[in-house]
Symmetry: C2
Subunit: 459 residues, 2 copies
């Protein structure tokens, strides 16, 4: 740990580092006593646990040893040296990729409700229920969290959903892979939007299913034709905010899609990853709420609204798939840690609504700031695809420049924007010269200067 980082390190680490340096430099020679835990805690005005943690660390590394009756004594370093590889250090914080990083997916630092999470973790680990850490957990997810999710599906998303139907999962990719194990032998093809989310496409391909791209251009004009031609009996869609275009799936197509599924004994995997963020009008209800034949598998995530690093999402299974799921996964165990599920269940019970509202307000302000700045500074040479949803915008050059040229020019001005060609199965269909400008991670006050730097770089 470098000296410059010590101001932000936890106190016990700073105590450890200070004593560690003293011992290494011979200020505290072998055989000398370290201050008593109580004395040092009083001197620093901290708890004894803090000092004790520092001393444990020194002890575990051989710098000191606890001697009954005489406290902690500095050890002879010559005896500690071994040929063992160097002990790992504690690492720092990742850096953004540019001064203005318009990345997509990561959230703005500080979004995660760390204080509430700490408090709830404390509550749970202090309570009798903490024994849940000592046992294998429910393969479908913890009851409390499943009930919280089902309650919101029913009251806020118009779905007819019982906690039984909710399965807690460890992220979109792995839940898609798990879901596909139920469908092996059913044509082994998944129809997907073209363009579409490459992460799910990779998960489908890892599961050895073929991907059948269904074009969404021109208001989904060829989507159903492509779907019918694919022979697929499973289609993955993002109706509330199509990724990466942020289009909303038209109501008529929704009805057609449900009829297609009914007719072909097929299932629709509705990834509603971005329902919580819309800036112009209310969201259409999910496909799952229109589905009275049990043809929709609904998928929600906490990655956009809470933390992408928590690795939690959920499926709402239609009754017909519930038994299949149970027979395949019922004898396994959940892939999502018990503690995280309990903390999230408690957080959804208490602090969720307030947290989400605050994030919605912030994202709306950022959406307005970004669309405003892009319109003001980029001018007519670029097309800005605004749909009033999502956490990014697509921006396309009208002058034939490629996405690589745009990205490189931006990067030279210390601005990061991102390519979109990879979202097409057939890159020849990609319009070319379109980049993704995300606002989930960048700070609101950086949006305007970032877009100005971008406009200069591209002018």
């Amino acid at each position: 740990m470098g000296t410059d980082e010590q101001g932000t390190a936890p106190l016990y680490q700073r105590i450890y580092q200070h004593l560690h340096d003293d011992i290494e430099q011979g200020v505290r020679p072998p055989g000398s006593k370290l201050p008593s835990i109580r004395g040092l805690a009083d001197e620093l005005g901290c708890s004894r646990n803090t000092v004790e943690a520092a001393y444990r660390l020194l002890t575990s590394e051989g710098y000191a040893a606890s001697r009954p009756g005489s406290g902690y004594v500095v050890q002879d370093l010559a005896l500690v040296e071994t040929s063992a590889p160097e002990r790992p250090e504690i690492l720092g914080v990742p850096q953004p990729r540019a001064r203005y990083d318009f990345t997509y997916g990561n959230l703005e630092p500080g979004t995660f409700p760390a204080a509430a999470w700490r408090a709830l973790t404390d509550d749970i680990l202090l309570g009798v229920e903490s024994v849940g850490c000592d046992a294998y957990n429910d393969p479908l997810g913890e009851d409390e969290l499943r009930r919280e999710i089902a309650w919101r599906m029913t009251t806020q998303r118009g779905m007819d959903c019982t906690p039984d139907q909710v399965v807690v999962q460890g992220g979109t990719h792995s839940s898609v892979q798990n879901l596909l194990t139920l469908f092996r032998g059913d044509a082994d093809v998944v129809a997907m939007e073209e363009p579409g989310y490459d992460g799910v496409r990779a998960a489908v391909e890892r599961s050895r299913f073929a991907v059948a791209p269904c074009r969404i251009a021109d208001g989904y004009a060829r989507f159903i034709d492509d779907l019918e031609a694919s022979g697929a009996r499973l289609v993955y869609v993002t109706p509330s905010s199509q990724f990466p275009t942020c289009q909303v799936m038209p109501v008529r197509l929704r009805a057609t899609l449900l009829a297609w599924a009914e007719e072909h004994d097929a299932y629709i995997l509705e990834d509603d990853y971005c329902r919580d963020f819309r800036y112009r009008e209310r969201a259409l209800p999910p496909l799952a709420s229109m589905d009275d034949r049990g043809r929709v598998v609904y998928m929600g995530t906490f990655s956009k609204s809470l933390s992408p690093a928590l690795r939690m999402n959920y499926l709402v299974l239609p009754p017909a798939l519930l038994e299949r799921w149970r027979s395949v996964f019922g004898a396994s165990y959940s892939e999502v840690p018990w503690l995280n599920q309990r903390v999230l269940g408690r957080f959804m019970h208490d602090g969720w609504d307030r947290h989400l509202r605050r994030l919605q307000v912030r994202n709306r302000r950022k959406y307005e700031a970004l669309t405003g700045a892009l319109r003001a500074h980029l001018g007519g040479a670029f097309r800005i695809m605004e749909n009033g949803t999502g956490l990014h915008l697509l921006v396309c050059a009208r002058d034939g420049r490629s996405e690589d040229e745009l990205i490189e020019a931006a990067r030279a001005a210390d601005v990061a924007v991102y390519g979109t060609r990879r979202y097409w199965v057939d890159p020849d269909r990609a319009p070319g010269g379109c980049v993704l400008v995300g606002f989930s991670s960048i700070a609101e006050e950086d949006i305007e200067p970032g877009v100005r730097a971008l406009a200069r770089a591209w002018s």
Copy 2:
């Protein structure tokens, strides 16, 4: 939440419940003010945050509303009642299956180092690095944890292991499924021990690989013949404590197995799930430490030594598979939550060794207590398979009774023991009348009376 549970509930819940009951019973009528947050906190000697949490809960459920200038005011319940489904309650603690539950796998309540976990969670969430919660995490795992694991592999397990080779995963089942995506098309057969771990067998079958059972009876006499005949190029083994027999794989077979892998361009998946617990002699070094041709994928877990509910394990990949793994999973993200990885990395740095030693001492005492009690009370009518490793023993009736008869007789005496037939692919090979008696979860002081009850039930 029932009244009898209130003593153990967090304070904010008890405050909430008390006020909730007052409002429900009309003691606090609509329009009346709740005590001020500061006043109630002072009265109870707790922090204002605690009272505020209780008030937020009341507000979110419509029992109270915050009125600027006049604090929190009780709402009219008639206006709150809706046809919405009932709000989920907070749930309690799971119950053991019998007075004496000799289950396997779950750990003894209190094993999890909850205090250290809380403290480290606090440290991390209070520090600047907590922004890790706001971003997608490294698909291979967090550096610090991978370095801690690699350091132990090298210094304690004799393996030549760099942090690069370590991949943090979300449990044995899903890491096996992930690993198999690298081997599709390579015969699609996995050779496995017969008998063997049914959980991995199910994961293999979910991945649509065939299972080729290789018999381990009579000192692995037919193991290599079965393996050669299988055509498999991947074999799953548990050399340090074969599951479920707890046998240690003989040294000669280890060398033969490595030669087989080299000769067939095959890989050995070594699941070293129980290395930390042995009670008679030192463990043989892992196969991976004998492997100078990069033929072993090593797998370790934290489920036996820390928590089965944390869902963390790791693979150590040989260099030849590292690139394949990166090309398949490098564009995804880790399935293990960032926070859990950071806390565990820190815990391995500080408190791990002490924690493990304590658990080793405890499990050794329980092993001795169980083997002693079984020998003393069961007598010659049963064979007790002792191998000095593992967290369970197999006990087999010599009189032809079936495992179901043994389990039912035990259950009638409020003792839970478990069947073993399911560990055989071919149940006709199972010796019959063998049950699993685990000691990872039962308290030490329950072992002797539990075995006495079992002996009476079976006599």
